[in-house]
């Protein structure tokens, strides 16, 4: 069964993910050098997409905790966990990978490195990769019909504006979770 005429759209930006299990919902994002990975469980009809800025920190690189979720390593973990919490089976997951454009020459091949990270991560984790649309020098708009796992990717002329990374908020001292001072 596939759905036509989706009625709900969820737009995500870097550092975010969305997971849905309802038909008629499209997750969208706009990518420059960032990567969006779409995961889908075809039996549970659960789909999710993330959007991350970089692959993983370099060894020994000091990164603040609040900045870690812009990295693909954590973005993928969050997405996979969110999929499983919705009822997806990790063993049934398949992936589609988009983005990784080398938009600004001054940044070097950052998009290429991001795409390489995503594909390496998925291979390491044993998640099959279907459609990919990565690299090049253009921005992309991705739409993912999460329920049936169909993604479309269109090249667009303008790179997405840089936006602040969605803030990760670890439990603070006032949130009553610090039990081990």
């Amino acid at each position: 069964m596939t759905m036509s005429g989706p009625t709900k759209r969820i737009a995500i930006i870097q550092g975010e993910n969305a997971v849905v299990s309802e038909p008629g919902t499209v997750i969208t994002t706009l990518l420059g050098s960032c990567i969006a990975v779409c995961l889908h469980d075809p039996i549970a009809h659960i789909g999710g997409m993330n959007h991350f800025l970089l692959g993983e920190p370099g060894r020994g690189q000091h990164v603040a905790a609040a900045d870690m979720n812009r990295y693909g390593l954590h973005a993928m973990e969050l997405l996979i966990n969110a999929m499983m919490q919705k009822g997806a089976s990790r063993l049934r997951l398949s992936a589609q990978v988009f983005g990784g454009g080398n938009i600004q020459a001054a940044f070097g091949p950052i998009g290429t490195r991001n795409a390489e990270f995503a594909l390496r991560f998925l291979k390491t984790e044993g998640i099959a990769v279907g459609q990919t649309n990565v690299g090049g020098a253009q921005a992309r708009k991705v739409e993912f019909r999460a329920w049936d796992g169909i993604a479309t990717c269109a090249l667009v002329a303008q790179a997405p504006p840089l936006r602040p990374v969605a803030q990760f908020r670890p439990p603070s001292a006032s949130s009553d979770v610090e039990l081990f001072a």
Binding site: A65, Y71, R169, P171
Partner: protein, 129 residues
């Protein structure tokens, strides 16, 4: 001041990439004996057969989650006092509270920076050298 190199660690996470990252982080902190397993079901007999000083386990795993793993470790008369640090997601406050009830020694919220993991380990073991 304990030497990190003398502390045996078991890392449990269902994601290969995350296990690799945690291993690298621990090795950078001076840990030398770092084992890992992809599931609590594999890790439990492993630490029963070959004891470690520290277990670092993800919460969110299929089949046996981190809380069930912690409960099983604490129920074992031989390995029951092993230091156990849980890795949780940002939205899992109730997990942390439940883990505290079950006797977890500390927790680290993912995503975490290497310094955060070091700090939580040192809160249990004291400053590492």
């Amino acid at each position: 001041m304990p030497a990190a190199s003398a502390i045996k660690v078991m890392v449990v996470d269902d994601q290969t990439s995350m296990r690799a990252m945690i291993r690298r982080t621990l090795q950078d902190l001076g840990f030398r004996d770092v084992r890992d397993k992809a599931s609590a079901i594999e890790a439990l007999p492993a630490v029963q057969n070959d004891r470690v000083h520290l277990i670092i386990s993800d919460y969110n795993m299929p089949d046996m989650d981190g809380l069930e793993f912690l409960k099983a470790v604490r129920a074992d008369p031989v390995i029951g006092k092993t230091v156990f640090i849980m890795l949780t997601g940002s939205s899992e406050k109730s997990v942390v509270q439940k883990a505290a009830e079950l006797g977890v020694n500390n927790y680290v919220v993912k995503p975490f920076a290497p310094a955060a993991l070091k700090e939580k380990i040192e809160r249990v073991f004291g400053e590492l050298n």
